[in-house]
Amino acid sequence: MKKLIVASVGVVAALALSSCSGTGGDAGPSTELNVYAWADEIPQTVFDAFTEETGIAVNVDNFDSNETMISKLAAGNSGYDIVEPSQYAVQQLVGQELLEPLDKSKIEGIDNLAPKFADPSYDPGLEYSVPWVWGTTGLLYNAACTGGEEITSWTSLFDPKWKGKINMLDNMLAAYIAGLQVNGYGADSTDEAEIAKATESLIEQKPLLSGYNSTNYGELVASGDVCISEAWGGTSTAKIVEQNPDVHYVLPEEGGSLWVDGLSIAKGAPHQDAAYEFINFLLRPEIAAMATNDGGLASANAAAQEHVTDQGLLSNAAVYASDEQVANADFIVDPGKAMRFYQDGWTRVKAS
């Protein structure tokens, strides 16, 4: 009965959609584009330039976590054309059939992407996403607080020497990057024993922590309330590094990890022609460079680097980590069935 209702609702919706797109086709190309993106990752200047060139009005909504975005898309009828999932979220969205496969014949300029992002493990052949910006998970520390000691390894996060002055990101997958790599495993492990060992390390680490915080950890490090914190690279971290000469961001020698947020087309997007136009626009090197110039983030577009006005950012590890560090870092991918081991472990860590 329920299935029947769902099916009939689906048929009605499909009819409504097809009639809409039918009239849309008659009236010419779309004049609107609905974008659902991370806050501040696609600078307003990019949207403005797009609207100016194409006349297509862009409506932007922001989300603050992949999980929020996924649940909104999963609820159905979101009306979004372009969404901006992170690498593991692409896998999850594909698994839930919430993304349209990309028609490569409609995309121009995909060769501009940096080699690391041309054929990534989370989306082989870039069937569903076009990488836009990327960053790293590493260590943020305050040299004034550590007494000038350089921090280069995850082991410092587990060192009793810094008891009460350590912060971890309040995020399961992020915490396990440190927990797994400090034990010599890959951050994308799906092995039950390895994850159990990481859980053990994280439980042992808990009494040493000032706390789990993924909101204002940068300020905590800058003020010296915390000496060392696990940290996400990106705009806010880069700003703190720039403002305070004592604060440094490094990728740990164990590797750290890489995130990448890309552009995808939502299933049933009402303005697909405009969505492809938008993706092509963002693949242009001079537009992609605006992610760095106006957004302070690293662009996945290699050809964009020469258009970056502040060339110093290309050597700021909190924005552009060096090529060899990037090669050494793991992509965090969807753990699939192993998610259970992570969740059980993380629940135990939090309750310990």
Binding site: G95, G211, N213, S223, G336, M339, A351
Partner: protein, 300 residues
């Protein structure tokens, strides 16, 4: 509240007319649509099976509840209950004293004092919590005062003390208003009479004002206890996130863990606990009112 009691009284006096039932339809429809229906969906989901991507499949299982018997969950639940109770008690004591102070001011000043209580709440909740980070943090005034006495580098954040302060600050007004409302209706001459008859300050409160304002106090207890259980920002920002509350657990289950059925199960457990606490308060109210009317009768 008054509208409902009036409706109940009306109902006792005469049968509602068909016209008035028609008028009720929009209200009932919105309550069913926005309140009851979502609740039923959550209840249904709590018995469902999650797929790997956080979706809900059609299955029917008790596993989401049996898993909660694991000590890791009961620990979080007990900690939240404890913190909720502690916060309620602290809010009630301070709320009672504040309300008493406001009620004993001249009537024309009371409105202004209540306004002072509510003004901070014109600002967003998150902004106020960040303000507490500044006040209690290492660069803040408290650390500055302690610095004068030679205690350097002291920060109240992160600690459970900071969490308790943050909770108290957030829920104090919800305790003050119901208590104030019930205290205001107490005839001031009762207090004078009690004092004339030799009751001490403590005696006046214990035997006169406290019993008479008990409906407000019990209401305030519910209004602070129930939302405290659902708080999830304060423990992270002020407490360092090392001791999660039930609210944090639900957020984690729904978002990070993509386990809606289990999140729904925890929500249902919380709901049952809250209904139970409301039932307890209801019973207490009933008992105190029958007791009062029976003592009145014996006195008469």
């Amino acid at each position: 509240m008054t509208a409902t009691t009036r409706a109940i009284h009306l109902g006792r006096q005469e049968k509602p007319k068909r016209g008035s039932l028609l008028l009720l339809i929009p209200g009932i429809a919105s309550v069913v649509l926005l309140g009851v229906l979502p609740l039923f969906i959550v209840a249904r989901n709590s018995f469902a099976v999650a797929d790997d991507y956080g979706g809900i499949t059609d299955g029917l299982t008790l596993e989401n509840y049996t898993k909660l018997l694991d000590p890791v969950y009961s620990k979080t639940l007990l900690f939240s209950l404890g913190l909720g109770l502690l916060n309620t008690v602290v809010c009630l004591v301070i709320g009672y004293l504040t309300s008493y102070y406001i009620v004993s001011r001249p009537t024309n000043r009371q409105g202004f004092l209540l306004l002072l209580v509510i003004i901070p709440f014109w600002t967003d909740f998150l902004v106020r919590t960040f303000a507490w980070i500044t006040i209690l943090g290492s660069g803040g005034p408290i650390a500055g005062i302690l610095g004068i006495f030679g205690i350097a580098g002291f920060s109240v954040i992160p600690s459970n003390l900071a969490v308790i302060l943050g909770l108290l600050y957030s829920f104090l007004p919800t305790a003050i208003f119901p208590i104030y409302a019930s205290m205001r209706s107490i005839d001031p001459s009762l207090k004078e009479a009690a004092t004339d008859l030799g009751a001490s300050w403590w005696g006046v409160h214990r035997r006169v004002i406290l019993p008479l304002s008990s409906p407000g106090i019990l209401g305030a207890a519910l209004l602070t206890f129930i939302p405290t259980m659902g708080v999830f920002v304060i423990p992270v920002l002020l407490g360092g996130g090392k001791d999660p509350l039930v609210g944090n657990l639900i957020v984690t289950l729904y978002t990070e863990f993509r386990n809606q059925p289990m999140g729904a199960a925890v929500s249902m457990v919380l709901l049952v606990l809250m209904l139970a606490s409301m039932a307890l308060v209801g019973l207490a109210l009933k008992r105190s009112s029958t007791k009062r009317s029976s003592t009145k009768k014996t006195e008469a």
